[in-house]
């Protein structure tokens, strides 16, 4: 690393090297059985430099030929965008717990055991269900250094459990699933299987829902599958800078229901997307995006922040080995005060959306969503009546979040990147096959 940096400094005004090394092991179960085990070892070295005021970049997975890397970066610098940022000098970082040595010492046999436990719990509850499960553990180490003396180095670990169940009955198929993730070993699989069993209980009966506008609850999973992607795009500083974000010109304005707040928080202990600094060496901190319905901030990396006349919020991420760009870490929607049961009881006829498929295919930037309810329940007179089939919901995230009937009191982690309570909306358009057009 030092060698590449010093070679780059000879020919460029600024330079930064980013090294990541990762090892991961996964145990896969398919159709209720242990199927295969997989390990990956990966390293890469990326070089970003500034020459004649312009950015050059190159990456390699075969470190060792430093000169070729520098030359490749110089070639792209000829056409590079003008660098507006200054690389961070030496600074101190918050202490955030993202590494547990215990992760590496979890034996393969224990990982197999956790998968077997989850599969056994689900298959004992529902005869004929087919489960796919995954247990993963991994460690990575990141090193970054730049020509202004900035340096960062940290180690991170992660451990995760996931299970999906498919129940087929004739041409009818039911999908259930849940997961958990942490930087520490998760040695108790029960909370995950309990959630899946609850889904199976609620889906036991089928119910036909009418076509039309009606009240809808999105569970934590439902929020993740339907509403979060548009917000992640809209609060990205780059989308804002381009003028393509529907909230971009509304900083400080009330755009959402005052019951809604949203933070991006990379500082939470032992969360898989936490880290002491971003991929440019800017210290991590919590960034409020929505507070009581008001737009309070956007996510920035160094370059985007400089172009927008802002400061980096520490959200420079390198997606698939590319140049840093604004990227969310962990989204958190704080809980409200309504118990899930209270929200259900409040509905005469309505829908609970647990999993939406294809929501992200609509006009994501504009907030339009439209998707098939992969797992959802009909509510009749304040009670869950059963699972709905062949049902679509469609709407607009910004219209929807303007009027929230209630925010759930229990926030859950979904997919490792989002903590959210269920959200209850007074009306949403529902289309159902057999529900009348």
């Amino acid at each position: 690393m030092e060698e590449v940096l010093s070679r780059a400094r000879e020919v460029a005004e600024e330079a930064e090297v980013f090294f990541i090394s990762a090892e991961e092991t996964q145990v896969h179960f398919e159709t209720n059985r242990l199927k295969h085990m997989q390990s990956t070892q990966q390293t890469s070295l990326a070089l970003r430099l500034v020459r004649d005021g312009k950015i050059g970049y190159a990456i390699t997975t075969a470190p060792g030929n430093g000169q070729a890397l520098v030359e490749s970066a110089l070639e792209t610098a000829r056409f590079g965008t003008v660098a507006r940022f200054q690389l961070p000098a030496m600074t101190s970082y918050p202490s955030i717990d993202v590494y547990s040595a215990d992760v590496e010492s979890v034996p393969l046999e224990k990982m197999i055991g956790l998968g077997e436990e989850m599969v056994a719990a689900i298959t004992e509850h529902t005869l004929g269900i087919l489960c796919a499960a995954q247990v993963s553990r991994g460690v990575s180490s990141v090193r970054l250094m730049n020509s202004r003396g900035g340096q960062a180095q940290y180690r991170k670990s992660h451990f995760s459990l996931a299970i999906e169940g498919t129940l087929i009955n004739g041409t009818d198929m039911l999908f259930v699933g849940d997961g958990a993730s942490s930087c520490k070993p998760i040695l108790d699989s029960k909370p995950v299987s309990v959630n899946v069993i609850q889904q199976l209980e609620l889906a036991r009966n089928q119910a036909v829902i009418a076509t039309g506008a009606m009240p809808v609850i999105f569970t934590s999973h439902g929020v993740a599958s339907a509403l979060i992607m548009p917000l992640m795009a809209a609060f990205n500083g780059k989308t804002v800078l381009e003028g393509a974000s529907p909230v971009g010109r509304r900083l400080g304005k009330k755009v959402f229901d005052s019951a809604l707040s949203l933070y991006d928080d990379p500082t939470l202990g032992y969360r898989p997307h936490s880290r002491p600094c971003d991929d440019e060496g800017v210290p991590s901190r919590r960034t409020p995006l929505i507070e009581a319905g008001k737009v309070t901030g956007f996510l920035y990396d160094l370059q985007t922040a400089a172009l927008a006349g802002k400061q980096s919020t520490g959200h420079g991420g390198r997606v698939q080995g590319g140049l840093p760009a604004p990227a969310p870490s962990t989204f958190v929607i704080p809980p409200g005060d309504a118990a899930f049961e209270e929200m259900v009881q409040d509905m005469k006829e309505g829908l609970v959306v647990e999993q939406l498929m294809g929501a992200e295919q609509g006009n994501v930037l504009g907030g339009d969503f439209s998707g098939n309810v992969l797992l959802g329940y009909k509510v009749e007179n304040g009670k869950i009546a059963g699972r709905v089939k062949n049902t679509m919901v469609s709407g607009n995230v910004y219209q929807l979040l303007k009027e929230i009937a209630a925010v759930g009191s229990e926030a859950r982690w979904v997919g490792g990147f989002l903590q959210t309570p269920p959200l209850y909306f007074p009306r949403l358009s529902v289309a159902s096959e057999g529900g009348g057009a």
């Binding site: 990956t40 990966q42 056409f79 295919q361």
Partner: protein, 457 residues
């Protein structure tokens, strides 16, 4: 060390392990990419990658270890074997395949990667200028990528296959905005390495920019059931998403109920319906001579005259289902094990003209172009890039892009007209099991679907 030297050194070693089967895949690739966000060049670069993997089979259990440090390949072989031993409890079964020793070069002069970045950038600059000339355009995105990949496949059964392939891909999208309303229209173009295909798209780019602006004024289609006519691009996505994934036998082979549902001989559609997957077609993005298990590519009829007659296999799924291997085990890169994938998937042309197809539709939807698509077994969702109402047998007003959804079994039966105008679309990338985007192509003539559920408000 050169990849070939390493491969030759490993060739005798892989036969020494006490395993049922072992394979090594070594890979070397170089790629270049250029992306624009708005007027600004966002990223441009070249990347080099070297790596490999070992896959071992013991008593039906697989171990897989991937690496990009070539220093200790024997150590990685040991690891994969140890994992396979922990997993394996049954009997290993693989469909027989003749070991092949072969070298498949990419077509001379096709490698798009060495073309100077300046030349690639010039073409993209022209497209971006066209987009930004259009009034009310808010922003644009352009993503260009190309790659040249060489793989060496070695198996304990004696295969030694060197294959090279090239790929080029371009996506262009224009975003129009007015009063907080945002509309996006895009195109995707791909080719098996021919950079010339990325040139000369000026009129297409102009069309999509104007459409993005026009959509700001377009009404939404009312949600509900319609007679829908799909253009070749969208119908190709439909056949890939709704049906193709169900033909991938890794979903089916250990699942008795799904086997019943997908029993060969079942009538799935009208007698005019023929659906094919063929990696053996020349020079499409999904084409290859051998898959990533060293099995030769083949043309597989999935549906013939409306009847389910075949499915896609890896060596393992073929053996377990007592069918022949089809050469459909593919891996995105050395970081992934091969899994059952489609290659070039299409509906064969029928005899109905477009005019005949829409002629007797009183009110319907004409959905064109690809925006996205996904599936969960029986349920599928796919999005059109453009949509129009059909009124009294004629294409009428444009509406906002629609999302079509349904149950594959009923929808296939509801196809009641197949056009005479097959077109292959090479702009897609398929995702499955975290391996995305895998180069594939889809194709179809125009098709008509009765009782199609359309999402809207």
């Amino acid at each position: 060390m050169q990849l070939e030297e390493l491969a030759q050194e490993l060739a005798p070693a892989i036969k020494k392990y006490q395993v049922d089967y072992l394979e090594v895949r070594l890979e070397q690739s170089h790629t270049s990419h250029i992306t624009y966000r708005g007027r600004e060049l966002e990223s441009m670069g070249r990347a080099e990658s070297v790596g490999g993997n070992v896959r071992a089979l013991v008593k039906g259990g697989w171990g897989f270890a991937s690496f990009n440090s070539l220093d200790d390949v024997p150590g990685r072989m040991e690891l994969a074997v140890r994992q396979a031993r922990l997993v394996g409890k049954e009997e290993s079964r693989l469909a027989p395949v003749e070991p092949a020793v072969d070298t498949v070069s990419s077509r001379a002069g096709q490698d798009p990667v060495p073309i100077p970045l300046a030349e690639k950038k010039e073409a993209l600059d022209e497209y971006n200028e066209i987009i930004w000339r259009t009034p009310q355009i808010q922003t644009s995105t352009i993503g260009y990528g190309d790659g040249h990949r060489k793989t060496i496949f070695l198996s304990s059964q004696g295969s030694y296959i060197v294959q090279e392939r090239d790929d080029v891909m371009l996506r262009v999208a224009a975003v129009a905005a007015r009063d907080g309303d945002v509309q996006q229209v895009g195109i995707s173009v791909g080719s098996r390495g021919d950079f010339a295909r990325m040139k000369g798209l000026h009129s297409e780019v102009e069309h999509l920019s104007r459409r993005a602006v026009d959509l700001l004024a377009a009404p939404r289609a009312k949600g509900g059931e319609y007679t829908a006519v799909l253009d070749p691009v969208l119908a190709g996505v439909f056949v890939h998403e709704a049906f193709g994934h169900l033909s991938e036998s890794d979903f089916v082979y250990e699942n008795e109920r799904l086997q019943e549902l997908m029993a060969l001989g079942k009538q799935f559609g009208c007698p005019e319906l023929n659906i094919v997957d063929s990696a053996a077609l020349p020079d499409l993005r999904g084409s290859y001579k051998y898959d990533d298990e060293g099995v030769p590519a083949s043309k597989t009829y999935l549906i013939r005259e409306g009847e389910l007659v075949g499915r896609l296999h890896s060596r393992e799924t073929a053996a377990r289902m007592g069918e022949a291997a089809t050469g459909n085990a593919r891996a995105l890169s050395y970081r992934h094990p091969p899994i059952v994938r489609m290659s070039n998937t299409y509906i064969e042309p029928g005899s109905v003209s477009f005019e005949e197809m829409i002629g007797d539709i009183e009110e319907g939807i004409y959905a064109k172009n690809w925006y996205g698509g996904t599936t969960s077994m029986e349920m599928f969702t796919f999005s059109a890039g453009e949509a129009y109402m059909i009124r009294n047998g004629k294409i009428a007003e444009a509406v906002r892009p629609v999302v079509l959804t349904g149950n594959v079994f009923t929808t296939l039966k509801n196809i009641d007209a197949i056009g005479d105008d097959l077109e292959m679309n090479e702009g897609g990338g398929c995702g499955k099991g975290g391996q995305v985007p895998l180069p594939v192509s889809n194709g179809s003539p125009h098709i008509r679907i009765q009782h199609c559920l359309v999402g809207g408000r």
